[in-house]
């Protein structure tokens, strides 16, 4: 039955917990599948919220879900052992039911896909670090030049006061150099994929501003920070840092001849918002739809992976957030991420 139709397979998801949410996020991205709804008895189930964000019907009643749609398949990820029988009794025989062991296998596959996605995220991050070379060389070799010059001078410096001052300058220069390595090793490490924690948004934005300077020269870019203090979100701190670094790097790259980078955090009615704005080249309207798609890039071959914004969107969705963009060619772009306010469990 499924193979006959070339139209999208219409699927309903039953259970909106962790499994249902992950399944929804995955199936939603697949063109051959049309998720027509998701249901859970618990109105606070995370998958229902996620569905509303994606404009997919979110229901708390099984009968409504079955009755409303010309379904091809129901995927039961409730984990309820009695559910399969209930479904078989209530649902039209034409509709396939994926339940029990089959849905457990499906859950395994979804988890496997999530692991692959995390790998992809890491690979994209590492690919990006390749472009840090110039920035790192600049920030290490400049202090080294200072250290070398001062040390050479100290060899035959007679004035004790000068010796004292220059020795202090050397110590400071060494500290600056070690900070670079510390920042970068913490950035390049693999994100601990399963560990969400309460993340201070403003601190992460500041860290990202520091790291983005290696990726792209901030020459002639004025940085404006406008933070609302005390904002925290639930998420993976390493992945969130990666998201912010990517957004800031993109913004600065869009301003080849300089401009203003504005980084803002605020509380909006929809949740906690982070906005990254530039006064750069902007994005043509016809490309706006595509920028979050995997492998979409306007950069020359070898310069961009085309996975930056795709991964940003993935991480933001994992955190049950949304990302949007406004852009005007020649004026600039603003990316806005909206996070659910954190409810630490």
């Amino acid at each position: 039955m499924l193979s006959k139709s070339t139209a999208p397979t219409r699927v309903a998801i039953l259970g909106a917990g962790r499994g249902g949410t992950a399944l929804l996020d995955l199936l939603h991205q697949i063109h051959a599948i049309d998720v027509v709804g998701i249901a859970d008895r618990d109105p606070r189930a995370p998958g229902l919220q996620r569905a509303r964000e994606l404009h997919i019907p979110a229901l708390t009643n099984l009968t409504d879900l079955i009755a409303r749609h010309d379904l091809h398949m129901i995927m039961d990820v409730t984990g309820d052992p009695g559910m399969e029988r209930t479904l078989r009794e209530q649902v039209n025989q034409e509709i396939e039911i994926l339940s029990g062991p089959a849905s457990r296998i499906l859950w395994e596959l979804v988890q496997h896909q999530a692991a692959l996605q995390a790998e992809l995220l890491h690979a994209e991050k590492l690919a990006g670090i390749g472009s840090f070379a110039a920035g790192i060389a600049h920030d290490i070799n400049n202090p080294l030049q200072l250290i070398l010059g001062l040390a050479e001078n100290l060899i035959d410096e007679q004035d004790l006061h000068v010796v004292h001052e220059q020795a202090k300058d050397i110590v400071e220069a060494v500290k600056r150099t070690t900070a670079i390595c510390r920042d970068l090793t913490s950035y390049s490490r693999r994100a601990s994929t399963l560990h969400d924690s309460l993340v201070d948004v403003n601190t992460k934005l500041d860290d990202a501003l520091k790291i983005a300077r290696y990726a792209v020269a901030f020459h002639d870019v004025t940085v404006v920070k406008d933070y609302t203090p005390g904002l925290a979100v639930m998420g993976n701190p390493d992945q969130l840092l990666h998201v912010f670094v990517n957004l800031i790097t993109n913004a600065v790259q869009a301003m080849e001849r300089g401009g203003t980078l504005a980084v803002r955090s605020s509380i909006a009615p929809e949740g906690i918002q982070v906005r990254v704005s530039d006064t750069g080249c902007g994005i043509p309207a016809e490309l706006l739809e595509q920028i979050f798609e995997p492998f979409f890039t306007t950069k020359p071959p070898g310069k961009g992976t085309g996975l930056g914004l795709y991964n940003i969107k993935y991480v933001v969705h994992q955190m049950h957030g949304t990302i949007g963009v406004e852009s005007q060619p020649g004026v600039g772009s603003t990316f806005t991420i909206t996070f659910q306010p954190a409810h630490p469990d």
């Binding site: 070799n141 400049n142 080294l144 200072l146 050479e152």
Partner: protein
């Protein structure tokens, strides 16, 4: 030209020549100044390409600048743009590149444009002074 002693036009008895150091990092300008002053050079500083162009176009520098030591990665007018400008407008002033990021392609292209030396930070004082001394010999005297 070798019969003209260095500093012929500069006057000061101990001055071997006038060098413009272009780098956005004050620390680098400071330490390069220190290094070159030891060999008797008078050192001028500019924090980017734009300032360097201003400096060379002001007062007697047009005539009396002997050598330039120029960084690449800088705000405003960067090193590449500044070097193109200097090669075009002041071809008599030898240029030494002092950069934090070794890039073979860039070095080749710059040397082709007439840059006399391409040094990578950190460079020892002795090497920097030797490079400047070589550049001094290569410079052409300003038209009077």
């Amino acid at each position: 030209m070798s019969e003209f002693k260095s500093g012929f036009f500069v006057g000061g008895e101990n001055c071997n020549g006038r060098v413009l150091v272009v780098d956005d990092e004050p620390d680098i300008r400071k330490v390069v100044r220190m290094t070159l002053q030891k060999a008797g050079y008078e050192v001028l500083e500019a924090e980017n390409g734009e300032k360097a162009i201003e400096t060379i176009n002001s007062g007697e520098n047009r005539l009396l600048l002997d050598v330039m030591v120029c960084d690449i990665r800088m705000p405003k007018v960067n090193g590449i743009e500044a070097i193109a400008y200097f090669r075009q407008n002041y071809p008599r002033v030898p240029l030494i590149v002092l950069t934090g990021f070794p890039d073979t392609d860039m070095a080749t292209s710059l040397l082709r444009q007439g840059v006399v030396d391409y040094l990578v930070k950190p460079v020892e004082g002795e090497k920097l002074r030797a490079a400047v001394a070589r550049a001094m010999e290569q410079r052409e005297l300003a038209p009077l």
